[in-house]
């Protein structure tokens, strides 16, 4: 595969990366490269330059901070898979295959916002916040404002996604990720992440993130509302998900029609919440 020529920069500080983006407005950030490089090889993407942010120490690793977690944007799927984070290890383990997980990063995946990526469902369900740095300084973006459409996020030109922050989930919380992978690409045809807090045999709080189904990941708010304050039973799940996913809002391709995706949403939603509930109450 033969991409057109481009300039290549490898900054070692975040500040340097931000100023390179200002100097090269047609540049793209290079994280793990598992989406961008194939697109360049197919000449679907022809950036004038790549700014490789893979060698910036402050963007790497998972650490505790206060009563939560901070995940550097350049943390690989593999590192997350073997971390003590809530929910995300289960999600990372379903991303592609080990060679991809060793290179690909959570920040790269979130910023790329592929409609079939796994993390978007999880950061929505976790109510994570995302940190971005740009020429005007740093800012925080709540997960539910981050995903705006097909390959579109709240990131502004010249901004670098730096961190994902999550609250710690303690006693009474449970979570699960259910994925229906495309047999070729491995991306989620539909992926549903559920986070549940049980209290006194009922749902105190439930948050459901859905990826793969629509142009951008979304929260299944109708299902969340229907399940709140009730115990989780197969019947409750059946009725809460009934008609909750509208085919008109779903993606459609040669492998899975919008109607089928809506049906998968319903099935995977039931399975994810069921498993999360078992974990929360077990």
């Amino acid at each position: 595969m033969y991409p057109p020529s481009f300039r290549y920069y490898r900054p070692t500080t975040l500040q340097e990366a931000v100023s390179l983006l200002q100097r090269e407005p047609e540049a793209r950030l290079l994280a793990g490269g598992h989406s961008l490089l194939p697109a360049m090889k197919l000449r679907l993407s022809s950036p004038s330059a790549l700014v490789d942010i893979g060698r910036i120490p402050e963007l790497k690793g998972v650490r505790r901070q206060g009563d939560g977690w901070v995940i550097g944007a350049m943390t690989t799927h593999r590192e997350i898979e073997f971390s003590d984070l809530p929910l995300l290890p289960e999600v990372a383990a379903r991303v592609a295959d080990p060679p991809v997980r060793n290179r690909g990063t959570i920040g790269g995946s979130l910023a790329h916002a592929d409609p079939g990526a796994d993390y978007p469902a999880a950061v929505l369900a976790l109510e994570a916040t995302l940190r971005a740095a740009g020429p005007a300084g740093e800012r925080t973006i709540p997960a539910d404002q981050f995903f705006q459409g097909l390959f579109t996020t709240a990131l502004q030109p010249g901004e670098v996604l730096t961190e994902v922050r999550l609250p710690d989930l303690g006693q009474g919380w449970g979570w699960a990720y259910e994925k229906f992978p495309h047999p070729a690409s491995g991306y989620a045809v539909v992926g549903v992440a559920a986070v549940v807090r049980a209290e006194g045999g009922s749902v105190r709080e439930v948050r459901i993130g859905v990826t793969g189904a629509g142009p951008a990941a979304f929260r299944a708010t109708a299902v969340e509302q229907a399940l709140s304050g009730r115990p989780i039973t197969p019947e409750a799940l059946q009725s809460a998900t009934q008609g909750a996913f509208d085919p008109a809002e779903m993606n459609s391709d040669s492998f899975a029609s919008a109607e089928y995706r809506a049906a998968l949403c319903r099935v995977l939603c039931q399975r994810a919440v069921q498993r999360a509930w078992q974990r929360a109450t077990g």
């Binding site: 595969m1 033969y2 057109p4 000449r43 229906f180 070729a184 690409s185 492998f255 089928y260």
Partner: protein, 789 residues
Amino acid sequence: MVTAEQRYIGQAMKRKEDPRFLTGRGTYVDDLALPGMVYAAMVRSPYAHARIKSIDISRARQAPGVIAVYTGEEMQRDGVGPLPCGLLLPDMKLPPHYAIARDRVRHVGEIVAVVIADDRYRAEDAAELVEVEYEPLPSVADARKAMEPGAPLVHDDAPGNLCFRWALGDKAATDAAFSQASRTVRLELVNQRLIPNAIEPRAALAHYDPVRDEYTLWVTSQNPHVHRLLMAAFVLGIPEHKLRVISPDVGGGFGSKIYTYPEEVILTWATRKLGRPVKWSAKRSESFISDRQGRDHYSVAELALDAGGRVQALRVHTVANIGAYVSLFGAGIPTWFYAPLLSGQYQIPQIYCESVGVFTNTVPTDAYRGAGRPEACYLIERIMEVAARELGEDPAEFRRKNFVPPDRFPYQTPVALVYDSGNYAAALDRALELADYRRLRQEQEELRRQGRYIGIGLASYVEACGYGPSKVVGAIGGQAGLWESAIVRVHATGKVSVYTGTHAHGQGHETTFAQIVADALGVTPDDVEILHGDTDQGSMGMGTYGSRSAPVGGSAIAVAARRVREKATKIAAHLLEAAEADIEFREGKFFVRGVPDRFKTFQEVALQAYLAHNLPEGVEPGLEATAFYDPQNLTFPFGTHIAVVEVDPDTGQVRLLRYIAVDDAGNVINPLVFEGQVHGGIAQGVGQALLEHALYDEEGQPISGSFMEYAVPRASHLPRFETANTVTPCPHNPLGVKGIGEAGTIAATPAVANAVLDALAPFGIRHLDIPLTPEKVWRAIRQARGEVS
């Protein structure tokens, strides 16, 4: 005659080629570099059907590093001929297929120009600067739509897009059997289009030496000698002895590397014009739109049964999608490689099959692992399964009842073939035993009561391998003989070089052929080097496809090795001053019978053969022999495979739980290599049943143009395979072998499809077309449950 003992044949030896391949030290075409080498990039049509109004190469020509830009016009001026067709049917249309399109493109991916530059990246950059003005024309991708009145014509001189109409069998007798049948079963089925996807994309490197006026072409070929003949005699008009074709290590073929492709024609032609070596390697995205594709049949099959449930007749009508042009064997695959196999393992008194070949605006189709035989096996095994269900009989016992019994061999089918040997019930029984079939059926019942849908599917296959008796090949329109040749050359030290006309691209010939020679000559496999893939390096040959290497290539080697041993025996007898009839050969030594201390080693005899100081009267010096082996018949491997699946009724997802394969390909040279072939074959067959589909939209745009959409089976899709074999030797070749390269692919598709339809039987679902993708299964279940109208 002195016979050989078997010390290495039958041993599960690890492959001699493994260290090289496993450590990444093979030598593939793309690894090669020559001084002054330049690189080609192809400009391909983005349209399925269009008139080329103009091509402006001026910007590309001026791009940095560009050495030449060629269009079809230059090739026409140089008198380069169309690509060859190797199998002709009566009255077929054969429109010329030029390496570079001249005035019209007929499928996405057809080459319209080539850019040659000093660097591959610059060649690709400049290829984007070639400005082609197209006038898009109406197009058609589906073969049945192409036959409809008013469909766009792919070739103006092929009305109705008809390439050929061909039939085999006795129509009147078959129709009569149907009119007397007590029950008939009818099934419409699609055998979907597939992409072969060898792990190594195609590549070529061409070099012209003006001093010697000689060409060398390194190419990813399964059959370098055939490549040379076709390129020299039919396309470029190079004297055959002035073209050397070398096919080094090749990473898989599955049929897709048999043919003469446009790219290697362009390179061989261009290298002489430029006086520089020219290289091209396919990008994977090019493989998806330029490698010949497989299958793509639509069939109507009908089975006539008597009151006892015995099959009386089979009637088949098949529409085969030929693609935009007739590929090398494109007309043979849905005819002679297909219809004769429709009898399967069964005694069917009458069979009639009509095949219609249709042009469409798609990549041409040709042989893909199994080549016609998987299509036949899928058809007969699906309709047998449906028949068993409609009769209320167990599918295993229904098959058994209709088997050709062991005492009927050689068995003449009503569709041309004579099956050489078989014991179908033995393989079926072994498979049922391995599967614990009866218990499996009980478990299935119990799980159904719990709302779980397990399915058990059988496929009892027979295939025809080892093409083939040259006389027969000629009689069916083949433009070649399909013998094989070998040279066994013993050196003065007793080491052995063997030249074979077959080619290995994953088959392990360097090991298995060495085992054959080691036993014949009493040496070790390490003493034997197998050489192949170079037309200047010894033997002639026809190459590797159709599971012919062991039965035809291996037999040629066995015959040549036997000739060597006969000569060595003569020399040994002379040296030992004994009669030839008194010489015994064991453990690499020629003994005088009954005198254990009087012997000559094979190495001593080899040295004497070359010293030639003391040879028997009339015996020439040296120790080597050549054999041309032309088989007496095809070989007919068979077996029964059983798949066990579970269907998730909520998502339609199919999970393959177990896979049992019992194969009989006669004697086994190397059980490890045998099993490896079975494993890979099953994986590909499962791929067709559940995953793979080369899709085109209505306009002929490929939809599954990358591994992001086209699903090949991965390890995670497959269970651990449970394999075994029975042995019914081939009665007509010296090794008793039949060939195992395609069996898995042929059996696995119907076995898995039958299993899925068995799981869906409680819903009343009779048939679904492959691939059985989740949405298709989900929709069928929903419809059956009455959840949609």
